[in-house]
């Protein structure tokens, strides 16, 4: 059964790379370029996982995170923050607002994949084989 992943990222190349690995891992992927678009996508259909950038146009990632956690309907949605903000305080802030995990850019795509799978309770790696399932 395919899981759905919402990628919230304003950098097109980063979004492209994330899209590629999530698809490869067998997930259904949607991409939002800013905070507002992210919440619209959420409203349209709640994903299983949100890959969330922090520095976004219009509405930043922390605000999006807060909005998601404020809605009981989205209780089960997992949030993985992917941010260029490298300070421990940024990480704590995000986790404090209800994010489930936090990775600092530049991250390893394998790491991203592992964590998403772990969140989804999936076994196994993220290799191209997974995408073939």
């Amino acid at each position: 059964m395919a899981h759905s992943v919402l990628i919230v990222e304003d950098e097109p190349n980063i979004a492209l790379s994330l899209q590629f690995i999530m698809k490869r891992a067998g997930h259904v992927v949607r991409v939002a370029g800013d905070g507002d678009a992210a919440l619209q996508a959420m409203a349209a259909a709640a994903p299983d996982v949100v890959l969330l950038d922090i520095m976004l146009p219009k509405r930043d990632g922390l605000s999006v995170c807060e909005a998601i956690r404020a809605n009981a309907a989205w209780k089960g949605v997992k949030i993985l923050v992917l941010s260029a903000k490298s300070r421990e305080s940024d990480r704590e802030k995000a986790l404090g607002l209800g994010a489930d995990d936090y990775l600092t850019k530049p991250y390893s795509t394998r790491d991203v994949c592992d964590r998403v799978n772990r969140m989804l309770g999936l076994e196994g790696g993220c290799g191209p084989s997974a995408g073939a399932v």
Binding site: E11, P12, N13, I14, A15, L16, S17, L18, F20, I21, R24, G33, D34, M55, P57, K58, A84, K85, S86, R87, T104, K105, P106, Y107, S108, T109, R110, G127, P128
Partner: protein, 906 residues
């Protein structure tokens, strides 16, 4: 007339006076004051009219007509026109418990006992001729009325057997009378109500006596005024109806001025008007009652003089017409009444003068000497009231003997008026110190001392010594040829000044040196603090209340008992005890002799003592019992100075601490600025870090994808590799720009500024961007004139600016159908180049911010790699450095942004 009868009547009259005085005193003690009314007060001021007026005026009128008048016009002027001077003096006397004119002047000038002594001395010397005038008139009138010259008949003539002449006997009698009247109490500033009552009575007697004679002459001998004056004109006396010839008017002015000063400065006038004043309000009536009195007593002067002239055909002693005319017409009773009138005029003057002078001699000469030389031991117990009384009584006798001496040895050849004017001129010497003292705070002790001393010396030289010379006690050559034959110093023509009357001459010189020295020395002198304080108390007397006085000048400790005992020794034990007890009672407590006396007690004691011995001496005495001593005013002021210095110092500290606060604040704000800068730097680093991490993320991600996905289709592989390459380029560009910006901001950029042709730079920039332009299919329109003036710029940096603007324009213009227009223009010595795109433009709220580093906002919707966010910041730095400016606006031909920068032409 029989001498015995005259003597008897005289003694009876004096006895009656004494009774009146006693009655007045008793009434005062019972609290039903006889003299506390304006009429008595005005009559007492009429002590101004002495034998001089009673006898002398007629004599003067008989000699030179109306010349007797100015002596009364002056006082009239003062009372009518200038009563404020009296109001002020009276207030000062009351506030300061002034006992005499010497006390007044010394008190004004810092309670100086030396000045007080000088004033007292001058007053005694100056008054002596005046007293002799009274003695002379009484003696002469007595001789005339008894029909004797020398020892004849019964009574006083018998005294001649004991080697005593009439005048001496009269002097002694007046001395005794004055002693009986004036030295019964010791508190001199307590009013002598009995005396005032007696003086007022005497004023009535002399007025009526004179009027009686006047009536008799005018209506008894002649048929009224017009008849009298007609007959006088027929007798060739009309010159007496007018002011005398020659220096007449000049002398008039002199006399008016002199008498104006005299009415204020004569010791007895000062005493009776100011010291004996019971109520300031009485002055309101006195200002017209006293002039009215003067008018009344002068109405018949001329008629009597004319009557005398016509009766004696120009012979006889005109000074005695008041007496001789009635006798001539057989009116012995009237003559006796006139004699009593003359006696009353003389006695009133002598009594008041003697009391005033004895008070001065005692308080301002003898007691200060005794105290300063420690001839009186203040520590020793004992009642000193007896000593004070003895001093005063001796002084009275002394003053009368002096008067007698002057009469005997100097006044023989002078008329009454001439003698009186000598005294007037002496009294006038006090005027600068008194009038200057109450209106001019700057008047100083040294000024007053110098002025008084010089003025008095000049008076003695030009008036007193000549009178001795005239009487043969000095060689008469002294007058005509000057001392030692130095004509320049002739006393009647000093420094060659001739043509004035002797009086005008003397007054001119004495007042000139007096006022001159007073003013000049005062201006040059620095007043001591006590002078300043006293000066302010006198000049501003209407603003100061009594309470303010001296409160703070005493420090140290004395017991109330000690003060009471000290005071008691001078004013009497009972009186002191009563005063102290009632003072304690007024404060609602028992009199506790062992308790420490505070300033109020000291003040009470000082005031009581001031009344008895004068303010200067009282001060010294209080100081002697206050253990710890008097805080001298200088010391007080030193303390004040120190305090004000401390205040200044603390103000300085305040200023310093305020400055410190300011500095702290500046430091704080600098610190905050630093923190701000630090956080800006932090932000900058964070932003840089973010900007670096973003391309790195893509590069790493795609590298991993390519590694982990060996079977990736080749189109994707190419795309991903392309992304890696562009992101690497972006990274490189970012690093370059960060370094550039850092250099620009730190001012470490290397510039080679020269005259640059802008065209190649513009074209070069377009060429450099060719790849991007092609990729985006943007139409670049170069709308630049063929030749542009050279600009002052750095070639590479100019290129950099163009590239940054052009790349932005290309990136953000419409897609597709993008169009970028480059234009150039020269205006006012500046070349301006604009780059216009046809994209979405920049909303106004972002226009200020676009030139800040890392300022990015979402422009356009297409997903293209972002810029570094540093390009425009770098452009601004470069353009600003080159002396131009850069701004952003709208595309004038539709949507889009237009960036314009200027550069100065070379």
């Amino acid at each position: 007339m029989q001498g015995g009868l005259v003597a008897l009547v005289s003694v009876a009259y004096l006895g009656m006076l004494f009774a009146i005085a006693s009655f007045g005193d008793r009434r005062a003690e019972q609290g039903r004051s006889l003299t506390n009314n304006p009429y008595i007060y005005a009559l007492s001021i009429a002590v101004f009219c002495t034998s001089w007026t009673f006898y002398g005026s007629v004599g003067l009128a008989a000699r030179s007509g109306l010349d007797f008048l100015p002596i009364y016009l002056g006082p009239t002027l003062v009372f009518v026109v200038w009563p404020v001077v009296w109001v002020k003096i009276i207030r000062i006397c009351k506030v300061n418990r002034i006992t005499s004119i010497a006390d007044f002047i010394s008190s004004r000038f810092g309670k100086s006992s030396r000045l007080g002594g000088l004033v007292a001395l001058i007053a005694v010397i100056g008054t002596t001729p005046y007293i002799s005038l009274q003695l002379k008139s009484v003696a002469t009138s007595f001789e005339i009325i008894t029909g004797t010259v020398g020892a004849d008949g019964w009574g006083l003539g018998a005294l001649g057997a004991f080697g005593l002449d009439t005048t001496f006997v009269i002097a002694l009698a007046l001395a005794v009378f004055s002693i009986l009247f004036g030295t019964r109490h010791i508190d001199a500033s307590e009013h002598h109500e009995g005396i005032v009552a007696a003086i007022a009575f005497e004023s009535i007697v002399k007025l009526f006596a004179f009027l009686a004679v006047g009536f008799f002459v005018t209506f008894g001998i002649y048929d009224g005024f017009s008849d009298l004056f007609h007959k006088a004109r027929d007798a060739g006396l009309q010159k007496l109806f007018t002011v005398s010839d020659g220096g007449g008017y000049a002398d008039w002015v002199t006399m008016i001025l002199l008498s104006m000063l005299a009415i204020i400065c004569l010791p007895r006038q000062f005493y009776i008007t100011a010291v004996e004043n019971a109520d300031e309000n009485h002055l309101r009536k006195a200002v017209w009652l006293f002039p009215l009195y003067l008018l009344a007593i002068n109405v018949f002067v001329l008629p009597i003089a004319l009557g005398g002239h016509m009766a004696f055909g120009g012979t006889g002693n005109a000074d005695m017409f008041v007496l001789t005319v009635p006798i001539h017409h057989g009116q012995e009773t009237l003559a006796l009444f006139a004699f009593i009138g003359g006696l009353s005029a003389a006695t009133s003057m002598v009594i008041v003068a003697a009391i005033a002078l004895s008070t001065m001699v005692c308080n301002n000469i003898v007691v200060p000497l005794l105290v300063n030389r420690r001839w009186v031991d203040l520590e020793r117990q004992g009642d000193l009231t007896g000593l004070l009384l003895t001093i005063r009584r001796t002084a009275i006798v002394g003053v009368l003997i002096l008067g007698y001496g002057y009469y005997r040895f100097a006044s023989g050849s002078y008329s009454l008026v001439t003698i009186g004017l000598v005294s007037f001129a002496a009294a006038a010497q006090f005027a600068p110190a008194i009038i200057g003292g109450i209106f001019w705070k700057g008047a100083s002790l040294k000024g007053a001392m110098t002025g008084l001393a010089l003025g008095a010396a000049m008076w003695a030289y030009t008036l007193l010594l000549p009178s001795f010379a005239q009487s043969g006690w000095l060689p008469i050559r002294f007058l005509d040829y000057g001392p030692f034959g130095i004509e320049f110093l002739r006393p009647y023509a000093l420094f060659g000044m001739e043509g004035f009357g002797t009086l005008s001459h003397a007054l001119f010189w004495s007042m000139l040196v007096n006022i001159g020295a007073f003013v000049i020395v005062s201006l040059l002198d620095r007043q001591s603090t006590i002078e300043r304080i006293q000066g302010a108390l006198f000049v501003d007397v209407f603003e100061h209340t009594e309470d303010l006085r001296d409160e703070r000048f005493w420090r140290g400790s004395a017991t109330v008992g000690a003060l009471r005992d000290l005071t008691g020794r001078f004013v009497g034990e009972d009186r002191a005890t009563t005063a102290f007890q009632s003072f304690a009672l007024a404060q609602g407590r028992e009199l506790a002799p062992d308790s420490a006396a505070d300033s109020r007690w000291l003040d009470l004691a000082e005031k009581m003592l001031s009344g008895a011995v004068g303010s200067a001496t009282a001060r010294v005495m209080i100081g002697s019992v206050v253990k710890g001593g008097i805080v001298r005013l200088d010391e007080m002021y030193k303390i004040l100075d120190e305090t004000s210095q401390a205040i200044r110092y603390s103000r300085m500290l305040e200023t310093k601490s305020r400055e410190l606060e300011d500095t702290t604040q500046q430091l704080q704000s600098a610190n905050e600025r630093l923190k701000e800068l630090d956080s800006l730097k932090d932000d900058f680093l964070n932003t840089i870090s973010h900007e670096l991490r973003t391309p790195l993320t893509s590069i790493r991600a795609f590298s991993e994808i390519l590694t982990d996905t060996p079977d990736i289709e080749s189109g994707q592989r190419t795309h991903f590799l392309d992304v890696i390459r562009t992101e690497s380029e972006r990274l490189t560009r970012l690093i370059d720009q960060v370094l550039d910006l850092a250099k620009l901001e730190a001012g470490q950029m290397e510039w080679s500024v020269e005259a640059v042709d802008p065209c190649p730079s513009v074209k070069g920039a377009v060429a450099a961007m060719d790849a991007l332009i092609r990729e985006r299919k943007v139409a670049v329109i170069l709308d630049v004139p063929k030749s542009l003036p050279k600009v002052r710029a750095d070639r590479d940096q100019l290129m950099q600016v163009m590239i940054n603007l052009l790349s932005n324009a290309v990136k953000f213009c419409r897609n597709p159908n993008g169009e970028v227009r480059i234009e150039a223009d020269v205006r006012d010595g500046f070349l301006s180049i604009s780059v216009t795109d046809n994209g979405d433009g920049i909303p106004p709220e972002h226009r200020d911010g676009v030139f800040e580093k890392f300022h990015q906002f979402n422009r356009g919707s297409d997903r293209m790699p972002r810029g570094t966010g540093l390009g425009l910041a770098i452009c601004r730095h470069i353009v600003t450095y080159l002396g131009g400016d850069i701004r952003v606006g709208d595309n004038p031909k539709g949507s889009g942004a237009r960036f314009t920068f200027t550069l100065p032409t070379a």
